[in-house]
C-alpha cells in the first residue's frame, strides 16, 4: 500500500487556539486551527510555538486533523511560556514548522513507550500507524496515577492495547522500562519500538533493549532556531543536530551518547 509521503516546507503560520482541556494533573491538550492554511507534518516532526510576548518553545505535534488544518498539542506547563500557553483559549499564537525529519519505518506491529509529556510524539506515531491499520501497543507511564488522568482516552482512539504504569493505581506498578523487564510486553514480538520521555527513561530503555536497529528514540535538546542555523541543539559527541537530523533517531546511531 502506498501512502502520500508529504509534508509542508518549514513556514510561519498563525494558529488560533479553540480548545484547552486539562487531561491530568500535569498535562493539557490544546487544539489549534491553522488559520487559512495547512501545516502538514509527519511524525516525529515538531513545531516552535510562539507565545506573543513570551518565547517560542519546541512542541511535538500530538495529533494532526483535517490534513494539517488542525493540530493538537499535549503540553506539560513547566516554565513561564508554557504556563501562559495553557491559558490562551481563543487567542492567536504563531507556529513555525514542521521542523525535523519524518522517521517512519514500516512494520505491522508497533510498540510505543511514552513517559510523561513524551506521550505527545508517541500519539502522533500512533495516529499515523493506525491510519495504516497497524497493530499498536501503547505504554504510557508517569510517577503518580493523577498524572495519567484522561490521557488513555485519547490513546485508545489509535492503539489496540493501552498499558499504563505508575507507582500506584495503574495497570502496572512500576516504570515504563519495567513493562519490558518483567515481560508484560516482549520487545521481540514487535517490528519497531518507539520511545519518548525524560532522558533518564530513554537511557534506561537504551540500556535494556536488545535490538538497537529497531528502536527509535525521540530526543530532547535546547532548540532555539529550529532550522539548523544556530547549532544550540547539536547532540554533543556526534555531528547531528536535533532539529535537522531528528528529533527521532535510530538508537544504533546515538547509542554511544545515551550510554556515556
Amino acid at each position: 500500500m502506498s501512502i502520500a509521503y508529504r509534508y509542508s516546507k518549514p513556514s510561519y503560520f498563525t494558529g488560533k487556539i479553540y480548545n484547552i482541556n486539562r487531561l491530568s494533573r500535569t498535562l493539557y491538550e490544546i487544539d489549534i486551527n491553522i488559520i487559512q492554511d495547512k501545516l502538514i507534518s509527519l511524525p516525529p516532526q515538531f513545531v516552535l510555538v510562539c507565545v506573543p510576548g513570551y518565547e517560542a518553545v519546541p512542541m511535538s505535534i500530538a495529533v494532526q486533523e483535517e490534513n494539517g488544518g488542525v493540530i493538537k498539542l499535549i503540553v506539560k506547563p513547566v516554565g513561564e511560556t508554557t504556563n501562559k500557553l495553557v491559558t490562551l483559549n481563543n487567542e492567536y499564537i504563531g507556529i513555525i514548522g514542521p521542523l525535523g525529519k519524518p522517521l517512519l519505518p514500516s512494520g505491522d506491529k508497533i510498540l510505543l513507550l511514552a513517559g510523561g509529556s513524551g506521550v505527545a510524539p508517541m500519539l502522533r506515531f500512533a495516529q499515523y500507524y493506525a491510519s495504516l491499520k497497524k497493530d499498536i501497543t501503547f505504554v504510557f507511564g508517569a510517577w503518580e496515577s493523577d498524572e495519567i488522568g484522561d490521557v488513555p482516552g485519547i490513546i485508545r482512539r489509535y492503539a489496540s492495547e493501552v498499558i499504563t504504569t505508575c507507582t500506584n493505581g495503574c495497570d502496572i506498578r512500576g516504570t515504563v522500562v519495567d513493562v519490558l523487564k518483567y515481560g508484560y510486553v516482549r520487545e521481540d514480538e514487535y517490528d519497531y519500538v518507539f520511545v519518548a520521555g525524560p532522558e533518564i527513561m530513554i537511557r534506561n530503555i537504551a540500556n535494556y533493549v536488545k535490538n538497537q536497529y529497531k528502536t527509535i528514540v525521540i530526543m530532547e535538546r535546547l532548540v532555539r532556531c529550529g532550522l539548523g542555523l544556530c547549532g544550540s541543539c547539536i547532540i554533543s559527541g556526534t555531528n547531528k543536530l536535533l532539529c535537522y537530523d531528528g528529533p527521532g533517531f535510530v538508537l544504533s546511531d546515538i547509542v554511544e551518547v545515551l550510554r556515556q
Binding site: 516546507k9 516552535l48 547549532g231
Partner: protein
C-alpha cells in the same frame, strides 16, 4: 581534461570556492566537524565577541518562501572558544576564518589580538550585522568608522583580514576604505534589515522586532554588489547572499567573486547542497571548457 575547483583567497589555496557563511553553526567543535563533513573548502566561525552573548529569545528565525529573516543577536560563547574551533578545523585539515565582532575599534583590536594567538587562516571582521545594537552596522556606521576599525586591526594583524560589509549606497567607498587600510578581501553581502508582522497577533514575529533578510530574496542584490565592487576596485571578493545552486555560485564568480559563502541554502536545501553545487560547477566547467575557477573570476565585466 582535468578541471580544478581550487581557488586562492588572501594568497591561500582552498580546495573549492565554497565556505559557510558566518552565523551558520560554527561556534562549537562538534559544529566545525559537521560543517567539515559537508564538503566546504573553508569554514567561517560564528561571530565571536569579547564576552559570551546569550542572544535574543526565540523566535529568532522566521522561514519565508523567499528566504529567512533572523535576529539571533550574535549569540556566541565568546572569543576564547576560538582556540577549540581552530584546533577542530586543523584536525580536519580545513582552513578556518575566525569571525569577530566588536563595538569599537578598541574592542576589535582586543579581539584580533586574541584571535591571532589561535592562528586561524583568516580573520573576518563583522562590520555589518543588522540586528544587534552597538555591533555590525552600528559599529561600522560610516566610511570613517569602517576605516578606523579596519586600519586598527590591520596595523596589528599578521593574518589576512576580510571585511564583511552589507549592501549600502556607499558600498564602493566602504569597500575602498577597508582595502586601503589593508583588508585583503571584501565579503559581500551581509543580510539586509527586514521585518515580518503577524496580521492576527499584530506585532512583529521576531522577538527582537527586526532582523536580517537572507536567501534567494537578496541574491540579485548580492551579485550586483560583487559586480560593482569588482568593477570599481578590482578587489578580491567573497560573494554571499542566497546562493542555493551552482548557477548562483557561478553568477557570483563571473561577477568577480573568488569564493562564495552559503548560509540559508544549508537550511532551505539541506546539508548535501555543497556536494550538489560542486557537482554542478564541474559539469558547467566541462560544458564551457573551463579548467579552473581562476579563469572565470570577473569575466562578466565588459572589457
Amino acid at each position: 581534461m582535468d578541471i580544478t575547483l581550487e581557488t586562492i583567497i588572501s594568497g591561500k589555496k582552498l580546495s573549492n570556492p565554497l565556505m559557510n557563511a558566518s552565523g551558520i553553526l560554527g561556534d562549537a567543535p562538534d559544529a566545525i566537524r559537521l560543517l567539515n563533513s559537508m564538503g566546504f573548502g573553508c569554514i567561517v566561525t560564528k561571530t565571536l565577541t569579547l564576552r559570551p552573548r546569550e542572544g535574543y529569545r526565540p523566535p529568532i528565525i522566521v522561514p519565508l518562501d523567499y528566504g529567512l529573516i533572523n535576529a539571533v543577536g550574535l549569540a556566541n560563547p565568546g572569543i576564547r572558544i576560538g582556540a577549540e574551533l581552530v584546533f577542530a578545523a586543523r584536525n580536519n585539515g580545513i582552513p578556518i576564518a575566525l569571525s569577530i565582532g566588536g563595538k569599537t575599534s578598541k574592542e576589535f583590536i582586543e579581539l584580533a589580538t586574541i584571535a591571532m594567538e589561535y592562528d586561524p587562516d583568516f580573520i573576518e571582521l563583522n562590520l555589518s550585522c543588522p540586528h544587534t545594537p552597538g555591533y555590525g552596522i552600528d559599529a561600522a556606521k560610516t566610511v570613517k568608522a569602517i576605516k578606523d576599525i579596519v586600519c586598527s586591526v590591520a596595523s596589528i594583524a599578521s593574518i589576512p583580514i576580510w571585511a564583511k560589509l552589507s549592501f549600502s549606497r556607499n558600498l564602493v567607498s566602504e569597500a575602498e576604505a577597508a582595502l586601503s587600510c589593508g583588508a585583503s578581501t571584501i565579503v559581500l553581502i551581509n543580510t539586509i534589515p527586514a521585518m515580518v508582522i503577524d496580521p492576527y497577533i499584530k506585532t512583529p514575529i521576531l522577538s527582537h522586532g527586526w532582523g536580517g533578510l537572507s536567501g534567494p530574496a537578496i541574491h540579485p542584490i548580492a551579485v550586483y554588489s560583487v559586480y560593482r565592487v569588482y568593477e570599481e576596485l578590482n578587489a578580491e571578493i567573497i560573494g554571499v547572499g542566497g546562493a542555493e545552486t551552482w548557477r548562483d555560485v557561478i553568477e557570483f564568480i563571473l561577477a568577480g567573486a573568488s569564493a562564495v559563502q552559503i548560509g540559508t541554502g544549508l537550511i532551505r536545501k539541506g546539508h548535501n547542497i555543497v556536494r550538489e553545487i560542486i557537482h554542478g560547477i564541474k559539469s558547467y566547467m566541462r560544458e564551457i571548457g573551463a579548467k579552473s575557477i581562476h579563469e572565470l573570476i570577473g569575466i562578466a565585466h565588459k572589457k
